[in-house]
């Protein structure tokens, strides 16, 4: 089996230094776990983050050189269609670019391949490739996709192979001219990130008055009950949990 892992020019959220995107490194580990022949693919300028991926279980990376204003999907799709692998793995979100997580879907659409999202484990199955998918709150689904397919990897996947300096030193980067297709620029203003308040402690049900109380009294306020009877304490705890959307079995 041949697997291609898409590598992006990741940036560290704190230092902004080139840093591989963790889910992409986890994707390498998943592909290696399948016993696949793994290669990396990057569209854009050669980047230090891509070079670092060589230290985490990747022996060779192909860099498709395209311009800043070029469409990475077009370049990747052209390269993959020319020499299709069985599996294309990508992170479920990037870290350092637009970070929309849309690229694997556009790529799958362009190639006409199926896509399975948020993989935490991969295994060969009789009909194709079994993908264990992470769903909200720790739930897991098992999908079977017919290769060739695109699979995105979820952060809950097993940890990446640790970085080894000497491996990165030995790894090969091959540069090719990528297919150039201009990207339709989107009308958006980019500005430094501003932390915004989160909506906190909003109850999911009850009367408006209760919800108001929930929004203003419970949330972050530090309500202290001193020596309540254990039964009352239990009721308060349960009400608090329900307001957060947990333990709803009782109202069903």
């Amino acid at each position: 089996m041949r697997a291609v892992v898409l590598l992006s020019a990741g940036r560290h959220p704190l230092s902004a230094r080139p840093a591989p995107v963790p889910v992409e490194m986890q994707a390498i580990a998943l592909a290696r776990g399948l016993g696949a022949d793994v290669a990396g693919l990057h569209a854009g300028a050669p980047d230090l983050a891509v070079r670092e991926a060589l230290g985490q279980g990747m022996d060779r990376v192909t860099v498709l050189r395209i311009g800043e204003a070029d469409d990475a999907v077009a370049a990747l799709a052209a390269a993959l269609a020319a020499d299709p692998p069985d599996l294309v793995l990508a992170g479920n979100r990037g870290r350092g670019g637009e970070d929309s997580g849309l690229l694997p879907y556009l790529l799958a659409e362009a190639l006409g391949w199926p896509i399975a999202a948020n993989a935490v484990a991969l295994a060969a199955a009789a009909e194709g490739l079994a993908v264990i998918q992470a769903r909200a709150r720790g739930a897991r689904w098992r999908l079977v996709v017919a290769p060739p397919a695109v699979v995105t990897v979820h952060p809950a996947a097993p940890p990446a192979l640790p970085f080894a300096y000497a491996r990165a030193r030995r790894g090969r980067i091959e540069e090719q001219e990528g297919r150039s297709a201009p990207l339709v620029p989107r009308v958006a203003e980019e500005r430094p990130y501003r932390p915004r308040p989160r909506v906190i402690g909003v109850a999911g049900g009850g009367s408006a008055a209760e919800r108001l109380r929930a929004a203003t009294e419970v949330a972050g306020g530090g309500r202290v009950l001193v020596d309540p009877p254990p039964e009352e304490a239990a009721r308060e705890l349960l009400a608090w949990l329900r307001a957060l959307g947990f333990s709803r079995s009782a109202d069903e």
Partner: protein
């Protein structure tokens, strides 16, 4: 030829065997990497290293010292005398044979002491196997020699003399047969080891403790197989006599982790032999480790369990306890360097820490600009490039720890109180690299060292003060290899001098029994055990010592990346250390390191409170 001639002949035959065995050992060692050795200086220093340095360590156990002096002295003296007997005039005299008989008698007494060491019950830290035969061979050799020399002196029948020669020959053969893999090889290897020691700075009372830089351009980084060690390191492994002092000192072994430093050295010595030729080891194993497979290949995997590598706290207790000056920690770090740089075979959390260091210059991924946040309201002056101050305060990784921030606040308050002109580096202080280096990531260490040195060299200051002994060690002893030479002072020394000069005046004396726990990187790595004690004696009337203190203090378990390696254990090292403090009735445990603070404060209550020296001084001086 009479018995006298036969004796001399035996001695020469034994010498020839020793030389043959020595040559074979040399061939084995030569498979290691090349090393620069100053032979002349080593040879000149040998007597002193042997008689002063080695004996100084051996003599910590006076009985062992007597045993060794009698056995080694007797064997070397008698054999040397017999070799001189090749001069016919000499072996014709009675005085000569009286001397020979005397020296054999000394060896005989030694053999009795060697035998007594494992009787009636063999202590767990001593090995069995070949070691049980050692006194037998010495006894036969010495008894035969004594009888033979006696027979010659008393002019008894030649038959008796020849019988004695045969007895001595049997003993001598037994000893010589152990020269390649048996216990007695420590004698040959030990002599070469002392001459060609990889760290000559360990002798004559000096304590060279800095890790040696790694050539990052080398084709293979670190040590995978025995041949990757420098040849004189291989000699060091063969110099081990399995006395088990390292085993007694090792905190990881005490905690039941898969590390017995004595077995580690034996494993490394065995790794240079083909699996079939490896000598049996009959001492304590690595706790909980499966019996070693007899496999060839990389040391980690074929000989050692990876946990053995990561259990080490780099506390140097084994190194300090070793009478042969073997470098356990260097070996561990060499193996870790390969695991880290070549294989990426790291414990999960250790890998995460190194990744954070790679991308943020900080092991926990904290923003460097937030290092001063603990001092909210204290307004730390930041030293800009080109500016100057008296004391540059190196905050270290502990500044990001909620608990340790309290200790640093106390230190900053005291510096202000004493009128010390100080400043911090602010966002220009990167992690010092201690953790990266102990985990084997020399690449990141070198990068951090260079970045920090560039920041430091752009500023002027008289000295660096830090409360973190790990940072102190790295800045003081390991940055010079990268071009950064600074005067580095631990906060215990600075506070002590401020108290001594009267710049800080204790308002009251602290009540209760205080016990001081020495940080490894301050005591064993840097020999600083006096200032913290003098400081405490100024503010606390009731200071007591734990049994293991000063240079032989037990580690808190927090060094060498052990907390992030999180190796399986039966007990926790800090719990063991806290029990030792409780044994002497500690009501307060004084510490002087952010690592020790975190580890010892992690011991479940009830336990004495753990307080940094700065906090204690501040309490004595008064908050106001």
């Amino acid at each position: 030829m009479g018995p006298a001639g036969a004796f001399v002949l035996l001695a020469w035959i034994l010498l020839a065997s020793v030389l043959v065995a020595g040559a074979r050992l040399v061939l084995r060692w030569r498979r290691g990497r090349a090393a620069r050795v100053d032979w002349w200086a080593g040879l000149v220093a040998l007597p002193r290293r042997y008689l002063v340095d080695v004996h100084g360590v051996v003599a910590r156990d006076p009985r062992a010292a007597r045993m060794h002096a009698l056995t080694a002295g007797g064997l070397l003296g008698s054999s040397g005398l017999l070799l001189l007997g090749v001069v016919p005039a000499l072996r014709a005299g009675v005085v000569y044979w009286v001397l020979v008989a005397t020296s054999f008698a000394v060896a005989l007494a030694g053999s009795a002491m060697v035998a007594r060491r494992r009787r009636p019950v063999r202590p767990a830290h001593l090995s069995a196997g070949g070691f049980l035969w050692l006194p037998v061979w010495v006894f036969l050799y010495a008894a035969g020699g004594l009888a033979g020399a006696g027979a010659i002196v008393l002019t008894a029948s030649p038959g008796l003399g020849f019988a004695a020669v045969v007895l001595a020959a049997v003993g001598g053969a037994g000893l010589v047969s152990g020269l390649l893999t048996g216990p007695i090889r420590h004698a040959l290897a030990g002599a070469v080891h002392l001459v060609a020691h990889p760290r000559p700075g360990r002798f004559a009372g000096r304590r060279e403790s800095a890790l040696l830089p790694l050539d990052l351009e080398a084709a293979r980084l670190g040590v995978a197989v025995a041949e990757d060690f420098a040849w004189n390191r291989l000699v060091g492994f063969d110099a081990c006599i399995q006395c088990g002092r390292c085993e007694l000192a090792c905190p990881a072994f005490a905690a039941g982790q898969r590390l017995n430093p004595k077995k580690l050295i034996q494993d490394l010595a065995a790794a240079s032999l083909p699996p079939g030729a490896r000598p049996a080891y009959e001492g304590s194993p690595h706790p909980g480790a499966p019996p070693p497979p007899l496999a060839a290949g990389p040391i980690v995997g074929a000989v050692l369990h990876p946990d053995t590598l990561w259990a080490c706290t780099t506390c140097r207790a084994c190194v300090a306890a070793c009478p042969m000056f073997i470098e356990h920690v260097d070996a561990v770090v060499d193996l870790r360097r390969h695991a880290s740089l070549e294989e990426g075979a790291l414990p999960e959390k250790a890998a995460a820490v190194l990744e954070a260091i790679r991308h943020t210059d900080e092991p926990e991924g904290n923003p460097l600009a937030a290092r001063g946040d603990f001092a909210a309201g204290l307004e730390l002056p930041v030293l800009g490039a080109g500016e100057s101050t008296d004391v540059l305060l190196w905050l270290g990784a502990g500044a990001f720890d909620l608990r340790y921030g309290r200790s640093l606040r106390a230190l900053v308050t005291l510096l202000r109180r004493a009128g010390v002109a100080f400043a911090v580096l602010g966002a220009e202080e990167r992690d010092c690299g201690d953790l990266a280096r102990r985990l084997g990531d020399e690449v990141e260490f070198a990068r951090l060292a260079r970045a920090n040195i560039a920041a430091l060299n752009a500023r002027r200051f008289a000295r660096i003060v830090t409360a973190d002994p790990h940072a102190l060690h790295v800045l003081r002893n390991e940055y010079p290899d990268f071009g950064g030479c600074y005067t580095v002072v631990h906060h215990s020394a600075l506070l002590e001098s401020l108290l001594a000069e009267g710049r800080l005046t204790p308002e009251r004396r602290l009540a209760g029994r205080i016990v001081y726990h020495d940080p490894c990187y301050l005591a064993r790595y840097n020999g600083e055990t006096g200032a913290p004690r003098r400081l405490l004696d100024r503010i606390a009337p009731e200071r007591v010592e734990m049994a293991r203190h000063g240079l032989s203090a037990m580690c808190c378990g927090g060094g060498g990346g052990a907390p992030v390696s999180d190796v399986e254990a039966v007990r926790r090292i800090p719990d063991l250390r806290m029990a030792q403090a409780r044994e002497v009735g500690a009501q307060t445990l004084a510490v002087a390191c952010p690592g020790c603070t975190a580890m010892l404060e992690g011991v479940p209550e009830p336990r004495p409170p753990v307080r940094d020296l700065a906090e204690l001084v501040l309490e004595a001086v008064g908050e106001g």
